[in-house]
Amino acid sequence: MHCSISNTLQCVALGTMDIEVRPPILDLLKETPEDLATEITHLDFPIFKAITPDELICCGWTKKDKAKLAPNVVKLTQRFNNVSFWVQDEILNAGGVKQCTAMVSHFIKVAKKLGDLNNYHSQFAIISALQSTPIYRLRNTWLGLSHKDHQHYTKMQDLFSDDNNRENLRAAVNTMKLPGIPYLGLFQTDLVYINVSHPHCGGQEAEQRQKYVNNILCMLAAYQQSDYSTLPQNVQLQSYLGKERYNETPRRLVEDDYYKLSLMLEPIIHSIPDSDSNKSVSLPHKFRSRNRSDSLPCTMSGSLGIHGSFLIFNLRMSGEKCCVQGPLRRKTIKKDGRIYPVAPYHRYWIQMWGKALVYYDPKSLTSRGLEREEFNSSPYKWQGITEPKMKLILNGAKDAQTQSIIFQLADPGSDTVYKFLAPSIFAGLNWIKHLRHALEGDIQTTPNHIMFGRSTLHT
């Protein structure tokens, strides 16, 4: 199960868009938000209705044998996650930024309709999918949304905000009229706290506890009296929506794959779009990866923003080691086919992790220090060196000294060449050795002043 899902997503990530491996296809955009919301509700409600007080009183879902102690609570949670994954899946596989925007807009409408049906459960599932990292960061996708969609989305976002212990959602749920499906998580948290502060031990405490628990059970029992049977049924749509895409276990893998898909749609170029800084612009994809065998994101390049430390963490988690590091100066010789004749050198602390270079920029632009402390602790950007034709070009200058402190990395795929300057012969040789190793001997020894018709030393 583990593997097949991961593989499926990798196929999709590969750009092969393998239709066979995806659930039955239907053009979602052609289904009206009303119909989708109605059928989602038809699927949610029976599970919600089946929850028994016993499942809730003992907080069975927090225990190891939760599937036995609280089967319907577990099922409802799975429904939530399933809807949430489905939404991300559909958006990420829509086939381009424009289509993504259309899909996001469609789901905002579905969420709104779910709100009209008082189905807070799935409405929250959709909103949390839209707020998930892979979707949230798609800046260009969000930019394309209409003002109206934005307004609706913001409203719903506020409804599910965590502020003041989900004050808004609590107020909405408390005043909602039947039929309705609340977000069960609210009650689950409350029940956990009731259990903590009034442990099940009898005596006077029992009375207090009873009062609190009964209150919650009564509320839920009332909602369970809801009747959605008057809503139209669409069997075909229901079978599509009800399809179990992901069981609970590999969700981390699923999420990682979604993140990769998201990066392919809109790669990180300047910084991660953050709610606090809306300055960044995602540029068109230039480093599209063709080599998916590598599970690390180092097949592409970009700036890191807040993801810097996460990248290192990820590299570490996947068993990578930093094999060589040190201060280097780098300048652009050629980028995307354009030659930069007078580009300045920039100082970086560079680490090589497997097949990726991680760049740390200096703390101060004026300092000349070569120590690690002179550079920032979180990465600034990274560059994959697994591009199929990535080449190491050794400088062809005459004297031995120059030869070993200068080297170039060329990516003919994007027609980009960077030149590196090591601080010492020893460091230079060390870098060349490791790069040689990483690039498996794909080394070109063409002197670069012939390549670009320029003298090479700028020290």
């Binding site: 949390s128 965590d162 409350d190 956990v192 903590v196 969700r251 709610s275």
Partner: protein, 207 residues
């Protein structure tokens, strides 16, 4: 009702179900929840003012106990958090193994400046221990986290966990490691006057 404090820190408690996150919080806030007459948990639930090195800091602690299996841990939960307690149960290997997942979430969704403290809970159940101190300590070190073992039952190290985290946030602010000028920063300021005085001090120190 007005209360005064110098700093306001948003704190998160994260970790798998059954690790006793709610117990830790409950112990820390001294059973405030018990006293709530309302049937739902009050809005001020989960906050406490503590004294750190002569400054009063209001900790606003957010916890999603009971909802761990929902993938609804959204950005807003992590946004603006200054600190987080990453809780596992030292008698449950599984809960320890999921730490990296939670850490991954925190690293992606929260500010890179967030101070995270790993808490091995249920220290009182020494006989059932499945995760050694050394192992968890090494994990924490490798991931640049602080680490403590605590017991929500006996109260051992509960207060310390929150204090230690708050202390290092303050230390980071004072050494200028936390950028205060950034909009939507992780640390709110309870007292504007103090903030300005502080900023002035930071600036004079720098110049």
């Amino acid at each position: 009702m007005s209360e005064s404090y110098d700093f306001l820190f948003k704190f998160l408690v994260i970790g798998s179900a059954g690790t006793g996150k709610s117990c830790l919080l409950h112990h820390f806030i001294e059973g405030k929840f018990k006293a709530e007459s309302n049937h739902t948990i009050g809005v001020e639930f989960g906050s406490k003012i503590i004294n750190v090195g002569g400054k009063s800091v209001k900790l606003q602690i957010w916890d999603t106990a009971g909802q761990e299996r929902f993938r609804s841990v959204t950005r807003s939960y992590y946004r603006g958090a200054a600190g987080a307690l990453l809780v596992y149960d030292l008698t449950s290997r599984d809960s320890y193994n999921t730490l990296s997942n939670w850490l991954g979430d925190a690293r992606t969704l929260a500010s890179p400046n967030i101070m995270i403290l790993t808490v091995g809970n249920k220290k009182d159940l020494e006989d059932e221990r499945q995760v050694t101190f050394m192992e968890a300590s090494r994990f924490s070190q490798e991931n640049e986290l602080m680490f403590l073992e605590a017991s929500a039952l006996t109260g051992e190290n509960v207060e310390e966990a929150f204090l230690k985290c708050a202390k290092s946030i303050l230390a980071k602010i004072e050494t200028g490691g936390l950028c205060l000028a950034k909009r939507g920063g992780r640390t709110s300021w309870g007292n504007l006057g103090l903030r300005n005085a502080f900023l002035r001090r930071v600036m004079t120190q720098k110049s």
